[in-house]
Amino acid sequence: MGLSLTEKSFLYDSLTLDPPLRPDGRGPHQFRPLEVSTDFLPNSNGSSRVILSGGSECIVSVKTKVVDHTVEQELLVADVDIQGHRDDSPLVTSMSSLLSKLLKQTIDQKKLMLTKRYSFKLYIDVLVLASKSYPISMISFAIFSALKNTWLPKLISNDDDLEVEELPTFHDYDMVKLEADAPLLFTFAIVGDGVFVDPTFEESIVSNNGLLITWYKDKVTSPIRSVGLNNDNIKGFSQHHLEQAFKLIRQYAPHIEKALDASD
């Protein structure tokens, strides 16, 4: 679905007005309405579903397995499945590796430790059912709220098993809430002088460039990178675009975090 030249130029012009005018009337800092539900997959330890008003939808499941961490060091696996894209397509593989890396950096793996030998391994499976725009932000929201609502079995056996091995045994009913903070990722479209959070498909098409910015524990952190939201009219961007984006994030990200956290 393309836009005609006239449409593009109209859209570009309205976005570069002062104040800018987004086609759906949002301010630069405003997200599209977002629907989040959690805990709808009883089979999983945590689950969430994020639906954007445009029909984009993402489902995240968190499952666990007990592993011997002296043998298996990978305690976090993020696996992305995007409808309509093959599992080995660049979009899917880059998204999987970006998320895995990011989660490994941010989630405290000591929280997964059960005994001196055993840990929980978390499998974070992402299913993107439909996406009109670049999905990473939606995925990070879904992962965030799924992890916030993840309950792990409660260990009842001895936690010192280095010398004399014990297989961990668990309470048959009680679960412990996982305390993990996941990063939130924000995408911005750069159009002219302005930056616009959560760009729609159409906004992406006319953008000069895109920004991906990570928010973790009340801070803007890496990765911060530019993303091409379309294939033509890519232009460079300047420091003030970044600062503008950072400012927006610092101002609004805590609210979003709070909203997602309370969504159970």
Partner: protein, 245 residues
Amino acid sequence: MSRFEIYSPEGLRVDGRRWNELRSFNCSINTHPNAADGSSYLEQGNNKIITLVAGPQEPSSRSQVNTKQATLSVTINLTKFAKMERSKSSHKNERRTLEWQASLVRTFEKNLMLHLYPRTSIDVQVHALQLDGGILGAMLNGITLALIDAGIAMYDFVSGVSVGLYDTTPLLDLNSLEENAMSSVTIGTIGKSEKLSLLMVEDKVPLDRLESVMAIGIAGTHRIRDLMDKELRKHGKTRVENSSN
């Protein structure tokens, strides 16, 4: 030795149902109005499946163009997290998945008026978010609902259910625990008829018992058909009310 009484002398199954009772059956249509042309969400027991239909639409490649009728495709996505224990592989290219896809296409090809939509493709995606036995039957039901939502002309409902044979007792609509304990058959019927549109026997079932197994299966699919019909009418009514307001 099973830890459970699969079918107790008092006539109750592991989950408390009797031999001829369906599991809880909940469905809704038009669940993804912005993401697809037709959609449904179905819970049959603890199976949870989302079905999305795209089409009739222009085929993505020339090779799919059929001048006589629409080209139907079904893609099954059994997610890695759908089973109790997370599976390592996505089941996308497994032989069983491919077989199921083929038999679902065959079932619906005969029941849809595909000749009304020449040179188009109708693509069905089934996402299983949670599995608990009898998934093939549940997929039949989910696809039927999503196709109806997409407004694609069809002759009648296709409804499906699995039936197991425990010793000599046929048990309707197996959950995964029961499915592992006995051989089972999946049945798909057309509307309220006794006509079978799908019969899948994946384990050995003694032929002399097949008749009683099918009889209860057909009765089960008829009940499912009625449940789907009820939901559709309810949905239709609310839509009419909303639009007239």
